[in-house]
Subunit: 137 residues, 4 copies
Amino acid sequence: VDLNYPYTHELKVRFRDVDMMGHVNNSVYLTYLEEARTGFWEFLFRDNREFWKISFILASISIDYRSPAFYRDSIEICIRLNQIGTKSFSFHYLIRNKNSGTLLAEADSVMVMYDYEKEETYPIPQGMRGIFLSKGQ
Amino acid sequence: VDLNYPYTHELKVRFRDVDMMGHVNNSVYLTYLEEARTGFWEFLFRDNREFWKISFILASISIDYRSPAFYRDSIEICIRLNQIGTKSFSFHYLIRNKNSGTLLAEADSVMVMYDYEKEETYPIPQGMRGIFLSKGQ
Amino acid sequence: VDLNYPYTHELKVRFRDVDMMGHVNNSVYLTYLEEARTGFWEFLFRDNREFWKISFILASISIDYRSPAFYRDSIEICIRLNQIGTKSFSFHYLIRNKNSGTLLAEADSVMVMYDYEKEETYPIPQGMRGIFLSKGQ
Amino acid sequence: VDLNYPYTHELKVRFRDVDMMGHVNNSVYLTYLEEARTGFWEFLFRDNREFWKISFILASISIDYRSPAFYRDSIEICIRLNQIGTKSFSFHYLIRNKNSGTLLAEADSVMVMYDYEKEETYPIPQGMRGIFLSKGQ
């Protein structure tokens, strides 16, 4: 557990996650981030179901690969709010080997509040902002 | 092209399809069958949109792996109606290397007409049966 | 835990496992079987490393889909030796929702001892057969 | 075809690429980049097999998602050399809907020459640099 991160997600590397090179494939790390992100969301908004299914889009991801992961590795993904703007927010992630503590990757993602029906962005609701600031960092 | 099969679907093996052993992973063949199945469906019901989104479930799949597939291989999946009952139908598939003709796998799947709302099976509509029999084998 | 099965593998449904229909995609069940199979292998041959990396091929899989699985479901896969011949052996699998006990799928796979260098099948070693019979069923 | 890009890779969105939201999943775009990257590599070094399997690592990826992709979409990924240093090089990618031309995503990746045995980086060979500069941009 890393005290700088309010939420940590754990998972196991599957055989299918690994590619011909014997390492977890680069695209699969984004699946790991996705698992952490949805777990973090549940952690943040457990008691505020009005934000549970609020509509936003994933605008960008950047990831630095630091060390390869292997079949059966136990992985932990630490996640925290990084920045919050008027209509967007970003998360920072660490992906680590749970047993050795080795840093496997570091990543950031930006999400933007987006109304699919109106096809336009909208401001982060106040209540949601409050939870981000109190529980997300 | 195999004259015994009314529809053939082509695709390329992606790097991500291959596992640590250097072969296309066993689960990915079901993704190839799925591509062939949806292509076949479009082929069958192109002019009969009422059957385009008709509700059925995939009940079972059996697959025999005959020869490994590799990265960048061009694959063809031949598909035909195999059996048709009152409420269910089955497809037969060949998966082949398009260039060498090598048989990679042979498979069958059974589909059952199913109404998700009523949570019950129902008979294959007459029009759909007619198309299956005329264009599907 | 099912007393008829010597080994049970647990995993969580990832967001990426689910398809457009909102259910775990049919091909992903084979990834779940694969996880159970490699876990079972480790369970069987933990103390007999000579069989750890012994060479065989997956010859066939058949699977009956019984009930859909959903995002975040906790899954358990029960696995046991089903049949053993001179050169081949088969496993039987149950895939269940761990919390509700609902049967999600039932499957069989056949594996054949195969020497990739000689490109030929070979008999199951006696020691391996013994472990299969004592610990695998 | 985009004249600013020496190589364009084409592929089709598979059913399995799409997630519960009905869009191509964010992680799958990295699989598309990977396909383009290996195709570009073949394009660059077709006549220089000494660089075909040269050892490097993927150090980082950043991707901006611009517009969703859907099942059966025809995708094209344009790729070019972006920067080249002593020991590292980067590619820039556009992912577009082939039919409409809609920009789906824009991405960059950094690769570093890396010797897995010695566990150290090394300079880009002169011949490889020459091909990058003449054919890669």
